[in-house]
């Protein structure tokens, strides 16, 4: 009996914390159909908030911000992935001491607080008169995305049997062929997850973009646009709709990634059994 009560309290506690974590999200999704900013259904159930995404005076700005978010994320994550992958291969082959130094510096953008990274880049750009706009933003995004690529590729290289690379050479592959035909296919899962991580990090970023976008350029990403629009007068109903869409996309993406992962593991287990 005592055990049952204990188990019940444990479950209850887990549920309460989960409820607190999700309450704002769920409330927002529900009231996105009310077209009201005050959490009431005075206007009844309606899709007006969703329609407003496309047809309000803020739509052009909103869509340009969405476009910028994807543009910057795409460019920065592709460059980060290429540079980070080659960097990992290089770092893996560095001497022990220089490797440790480079790995520590690589960790820095991750452990450093975002605001310090943001202002230090801003001072750098101002000091060396980098042109305001996309260039600054893309460089800044590459700077905080590449470490994640390196961190996901390096362990893959470490787990690779060094003999497989040698085996390729042994079978007549030139060092370049051994790299493209054996090493890169082997580390490709690391490269892909590095790319995904870089893309998410770039899309999710607010602080570094906000501080480096430059006031005059008028460039906004989704997060900086939310900040500038909602800071003063609060959220307009169409934001509820946008947030709801983002929640659904993120949850769907995470679920599908996990489902694919689990099914792939099951498939592998089956093959080993066979």
């Amino acid at each position: 009996m005592v055990k049952k009560i204990k188990a019940f309290f444990e479950k209850f506690y887990l549920f309460v914390i989960l409820a607190i974590l999700y309450a704002p999200i769920i409330l927002l999704v529900i009231y996105s159909f009310s077209n009201s900013a005050n959490f009431n259904f005075d206007n009844g159930f309606t899709f007006d908030a969703y329609i407003a995404i496309f047809k309000s005076d803020k739509s052009p700005e909103l869509w340009s911000a969405i476009g910028n978010t994807f543009l910057i994320a795409a460019v920065a994550s592709v460059i980060s992935t290429v540079m980070g992958t080659f960097a990992s291969i290089g770092i893996f082959n560095l001497g022990k001491r220089s490797r440790r130094v480079v790995e520590n510096v690589n960790q820095f953008p991750i452990i450093n607080s975002e605001i310090v990274m943001a202002v230090s880049l801003m001072v750098f750009f101002v000091t060396f008169a980098f042109p305001e706009g996309y260039l600054r933003l893309i460089i800044a995004h590459i700077a905080f995305c590449t470490p994640y690529v390196v961190l996901s590729v390096l362990p893959k290289l470490e787990s690779m049997d060094p003999n497989t690379y040698e085996a390729a050479l042994d079978l007549g592959a030139t060092p370049f062929q051994a790299m493209t035909k054996v090493m890169i296919p082997y580390i490709s899962p690391g490269i892909v997850s590095g790319f995904v991580m870089a893309f998410i990090m770039s899309m999710d970023d607010f602080i570094i973009t906000q501080i480096n976008k430059g006031a005059a350029t008028g460039i906004n990403t989704l997060s900086t646009y939310i900040y500038s629009d909602a800071r003063v007068q609060g959220l307009e109903p169409f934001w509820y709709a946008i947030f709801s869409i983002i929640f659904v996309i993120i949850i769907a993406a995470l679920l599908s990634v996990n489902v694919v992962k689990v099914s792939r593991e099951k498939k592998k287990a089956k093959e080993v059994k066979a």
């Binding site: 003999n163 040698e166 050479l169 042994d170 592959a173 030139t174 035909k181």
Partner: protein
């Protein structure tokens, strides 16, 4: 018909050394491998056998020396241009390719001659092409058939058992029709039964294909079973090159004897030709040519030592039985004679504590020079009654001034090993410990890679860190001539006849030309060639 002696060597190592961080991984290795031979590099881990193989494969560059392949110097040839293939210890199959893709990997990269054409300048040009899909398919299927994996082409390599992966690795190497197959402990990851089966299969494969196998293992039984020739290595140096029979019956030194099979190793003295003393007894033997009263090692195989009743007239030595353990088809009997432990195999059980007689044929007494009689180090006096040994100053008794170059000698008995590294003057790692009847001979490596021999009462655990202490008065100091050059000796290959050795010496007088893979093809086909393949895009 008189034939001129010539040796058909496919691989030759000339004074090859490999140094990592100042430490010799392989030291001055010279050896020859005949075409079609099954050669095994045998030794405990860290003896340099794998490094030697990797230098032949091209993954490591020798620090010194030359590697000759088919009369051509391949020392600086990168691995992908060497016509050898390797089977790796943990197979090193490509995880992203299936079985077929793994085996076809080398074939897809290979270019083969494809007729000739006359170019605009009127020169004959050799054409090359890659294998067609059908050719590759046929070759891969033949290779799969050879290793009994006919229907496995589509399988994921991770789904195969260890033995199957091993076969794929062998097929992947052999499909390229290499002249030499290198095998780096290929059976190390398999269980005992599978290992026995694969041993037989590999021997069979070697016989059928007629190509040269160079095999690396630490398993002496495997080496004795499979090889035509065994190269025993220790601490980067070759100890003996001989046939398996010879290695077993006539080990070159105490280390080889200890490593190959069971044996009792005792210290003794060679009184005269055919006369040896150990266990306080003089024995007749078949060896000659030693210095008078030279300290030697005597090796006795347990199966050669006969146990007799204590008053048997043939008995040469009387001993006390310490233990008798049944080993399935014989008893392993430990006896104590004149303070030395001797092991014997007997068909009958012996009562522990009883006294027995021991007999051994003169022919079965293997007498060997000692590897080293005393620890010798070339160094300098570093202060008043101070001498540097392995980077640390030791107290000693001397009148020589600071800076004098000296040779320091320390008897094995005088090297004191301490359990705690901190208690010693210098730290060292135990490399081996050989039981010598009444004491253990420990071999220790200091941090600057000097090897100390020490005779102790304790069996030190291999790999342990210990301290070394030497009493000041036990350090013998002798002034040394700095300009004298230490002679290097090379282990001779006992499988070669005297004529063959002479032929090799003759051959070595002319340096081998450098190996060039393009040249090689051209020579074989006798045409001036230029590549007409898509090689260009693959260039670094």
């Amino acid at each position: 018909m008189v034939q001129k002696v010539s040796v058909d060597n496919i691989i030759e190592l000339r004074n090859v050394s490999k140094i990592y961080d100042g430490k010799y991984a392989v030291k001055n290795a010279s050896l020859t491998i005949k075409r079609g031979e099954f050669v095994t590099l045998l030794g405990p881990s860290g003896c340099g056998k794998s490094t030697t193989l990797r230098m032949i494969a091209g993954f490591e560059m020798p620090t010194e020396g030359q590697i000759i392949f088919n009369g051509k110097d391949i020392t600086n040839t990168p691995p992908h241009e060497r016509p050898l293939n390797t089977v790796f210890q943990r197979y090193a199959l490509f995880p992203h390719l299936n079985v077929f893709g793994n085996i076809a990997f080398g074939l897809k990269l290979k270019v083969i001659p494809n007729g000739t054409k006359v170019n605009r300048k009127g020169e004959t040009v050799q054409l090359f092409r890659k294998f067609t899909k059908e050719e590759i398919k046929k070759k891969v299927n033949d290779a799969l058939k050879m290793v009994d994996l006919e229907d496995y082409g589509h399988r994921n390599v991770a789904s195969l058992s260890g033995g199957q992966q091993q076969r794929v690795a062998i097929a992947r190497a052999l499909v390229n029709e290499p002249e030499v197959l290198l095998l780096d402990e290929p059976l190390g990851a398999l269980d005992l039964k599978m290992r026995k089966d694969m041993q037989l299969e590999l021997m069979d494969m070697h016989k059928r294909l007629g190509i040269t196998f160079i095999y690396v293992t630490h398993d002496q039984e495997e080496a004795l079973t499979m090889s035509d020739k065994i190269i025993v290595m220790r601490l980067g140096e070759i100890q003996q090159i001989a046939t398996p029979e010879k290695i077993y019956d006539e080990p070159a030194n105490a280390f080889v004897a200890d490593f190959i099979g069971e044996s009792t190793i005792l210290s003794g003295t060679m009184l005269d030709d055919y006369k040896v003393e150990f266990c306080d007894t003089v024995f007749e033997c078949v060896d000659s040519g030693f210095k008078k009263n030279e300290p030697i090692d005597v090796i006795i195989r347990p199966e050669d030592l006969k146990i007799l009743p204590k008053d048997d007239p043939h008995s040469l030595l009387s001993a006390e039985v310490l233990s008798s353990v049944f080993k399935g088809d014989h008893f392993q009997v430990m006896t104590l004679a004149a303070g030395n432990e001797l092991m014997a195999y007997s068909n009958e059980n012996c009562a522990v504590g009883s006294t027995v007689g021991l007999y051994i044929k003169p022919f079965d007494l293997h007498i060997m020079h000692k590897t080293r009689l005393i620890n010798e180090i070339d160094t300098y006096i570093t202060g008043e009654n101070l001498v540097e040994i392995c980077g640390t100053d030791f107290d000693c008794v001397t009148t020589l001034p600071e800076g004098t170059p000296v040779k320091v000698s320390v008897d094995f008995d005088d090297v004191e090993i301490t359990d705690d590294e901190e208690d010693g003057t210098i730290g060292a790692t135990v490399l081996s410990s050989i039981y010598k009847g009444s004491y253990y001979q420990a071999i220790l490596s200091t941090d600057d890679h000097y090897i100390f021999f020490a005779d102790t009462d304790d069996d030190w655990l291999k790999g342990d860190r210990v301290g070394i202490k030497i009493a000041p008065e036990k350090i013998l100091i002798e002034v040394r001539d700095e300009n004298a050059i230490a002679e290097q000796k090379t282990v001779i290959d006992e499988t070669l006849t005297e004529e063959e050795r002479a032929a090799i010496r003759e051959e070595q007088k002319t340096p081998a030309p450098e190996f060039d893979s393009d040249e090689e093809l051209i020579e074989e086909y006798g045409v001036d060639g230029e590549y007409e393949t898509d090689e260009k895009e693959d260039e670094e």
